[in-house]
Symmetry: C2
Subunit: 328 residues, 2 copies
């Protein structure tokens, strides 16, 4: 019997989940829940039922896992604990500093409801966290490096758009090759912010806007750009729409560590992602962990879980005998 998935929130992430369900034949989409007027929401695929978010609890026995597709700033801290009382849930909460607080809130709700709630699932936090954890467990003497990109940072693009005279913008975070190579060679460099990443901005301005002022406002913006080498390119809206409509991202997690009697042998563990669509990849990770949430809850487990708590066997559609014979 297929695992029935509910989608709460229909932005890029929700659409990604809708598409990814079609690639997992052990799952089916129960429906989309939205705060908008359901009749006005047009789904990507045909025949998807759309419900009002506030009516979701009526379907609590029809949905195996609710995928909560909201923002980390305000949506998820409120929604995940609320829904964890009635549903197995999964979210992609990515405000690293607030994870312990979110975990505690969600854990209490999920335990009260007898449900599994997986939080902070995606690639960072998520697959990158897993790789940091495995690599640290294997090589206790070492250093961790995380590089992001090349990819679009939504937050930085938004920050540029708020500058007066700017119509639209797209910002790419790009790891600096020289730094990556030094890490890969085992040189264990100490890298400043500026040495790890650079930022490239494509900006559309209003007619007659002062480009010199805008460029200066961008490159000197504290927190966002001031600590980086930032390049600014002014382009037309047509060029932005044509050349920069994708949402690519990715990055690298590297651990460089030593073993041996005199710590004379070096080992480099590297994990990297190159993603054409950041939200679609995140959605695909969410679904794999939705499968795990469903199975773990069926075995009687409950409470809040992260990727650290999930044995890989729960993620895989194939049965353990097959996995041992073909994938081990």
């Amino acid at each position: 019997m297929a695992i029935k998935i509910g989608i709460l929130g229909y932005g890029n992430l929700g659409k990604g989940v809708e598409c990814a369900i079609r690639q997992n034949d052990d799952m089916e989409l129960f429906g989309v829940f939205t705060r908008r007027e359901p009749s006005e929401l047009k789904t990507l695929t045909e025949g998807v039922k759309v419900f009002k978010a506030e009516e979701s609890v009526k379907y609590k026995n029809d949905i195996d896992v609710m995928v909560i597709c909201g923002g980390s700033a305000t949506d998820l801290p409120r929604l995940t604990p609320e829904y964890a009382k009635d549903f197995n849930v999964i979210d992609s909460f990515d405000t690293h500093a607030r994870i312990p607080e979110h975990f505690a809130n969600v854990d209490a709700a999920a335990k009260a409801g007898g449900k599994i709630a997986m939080i902070s699932v995606g690639w960072d936090p998520g697959m990158f966290s897993l790789n940091r954890a495995y690599a640290n467990a294997i090589l206790p003497d070492g250093a961790d490096y995380t590089f992001w990109g090349k990819g679009v940072s939504q937050g930085h693009s938004d920050a540029i758009r708020r500058i007066e005279g700017v119509c639209d913008a797209r910002q790419y975070t790009i790891p600096i090759d020289k730094a990556l190579e030094a890490v890969r060679k085992g040189e264990n460099p100490e890298l400043s912010t500026r040495e790890k990443h650079r930022r490239e901005c494509f900006v559309v301005v209003k007619e007659g806007a002062d480009k010199a002022r805008i460029e200066k406002e961008i490159v000197t913006m504290p927190n966002y750009f001031a600590d980086y080498d930032t390049s600014v390119h002014f382009i037309s809206q047509e060029e932005l729409d044509r050349d920069h409509k994708g949402i690519p991202h990715g990055g690298f997690v590297i651990r460089s560590g030593v073993t041996g009697l005199k710590k004379e042998n070096r080992h480099i563990i590297e994990y990297s992602l190159k993603l054409d669509s950041n939200p679609e990849f995140t959605s695909s990770v969410l679904l794999a962990y939705a499968r795990a949430a469903y199975r773990m809850n069926k075995e009687g487990m409950k409470g809040c879980k992260t990727v650290f708590d999930v044995a890989p066997v729960y993620l895989m559609k194939e049965d353990p005998d097959f996995m041992r014979a073909h994938m081990l």
Copy 2:
């Protein structure tokens, strides 16, 4: 209280475990068990107790996990089930085709003894298997690629040494850059054996040996070399000892998959290892999973497990609160 580790078998792997325990302050070495005469065995570090292998059962209550450091061809199929009756055990059984059979034998023994037995732990099988599994769970539509090297293949080096006139040899398996690049670009190439790896051999021959015949015997050797582009370099024993005494290895696991409504977005997940010492890295993986075996058994779990069955939280020395706050 420290986790007490026993080492059964004192080759490169056992020595690696001995060294790695010193890097994990939650572990201590109980002793080394050997089939040799204990008084004749000189350990790398001072003060290590050495026991006869056949007396190990006397210490079953003193040892939390026995790390079985033997060969996959004949040692492990016999030793792991035998020891799993009395100890939590861990091995690096790497004959992929015989894993289901080994699993069944070990599982029966471990369940009878109420112990955890982890098999096929290392990097392939092991970390590479994990990465294949995670990547497949995330991207169901895709292709898997595994490349090995650059590294020393012990089996291929041995095969060369058996040729008449050869004194010593070292064989390197080397992934072919062009193939790797095509995979990374998402071209999903179909690659023949010859297109994926090449083989490089450094050979020391007896005085007056027929080098042309030896080279021909190597490059035409079925299974080992005939399907590869193989280069042979004749060098002196001094050069071999000076330039080729290390046991480096590594490799790449890549999954190239697609998502989206029309499967229009491509994603590349890559995991790679660059290891100065193959046995020391394997030993380090074994110890992380020894920690997991000990903890899982303490929680009442028993039977045979592989890397697929172990939630990452069991591998990590740090407690889950710390991990969520700092590594997620």
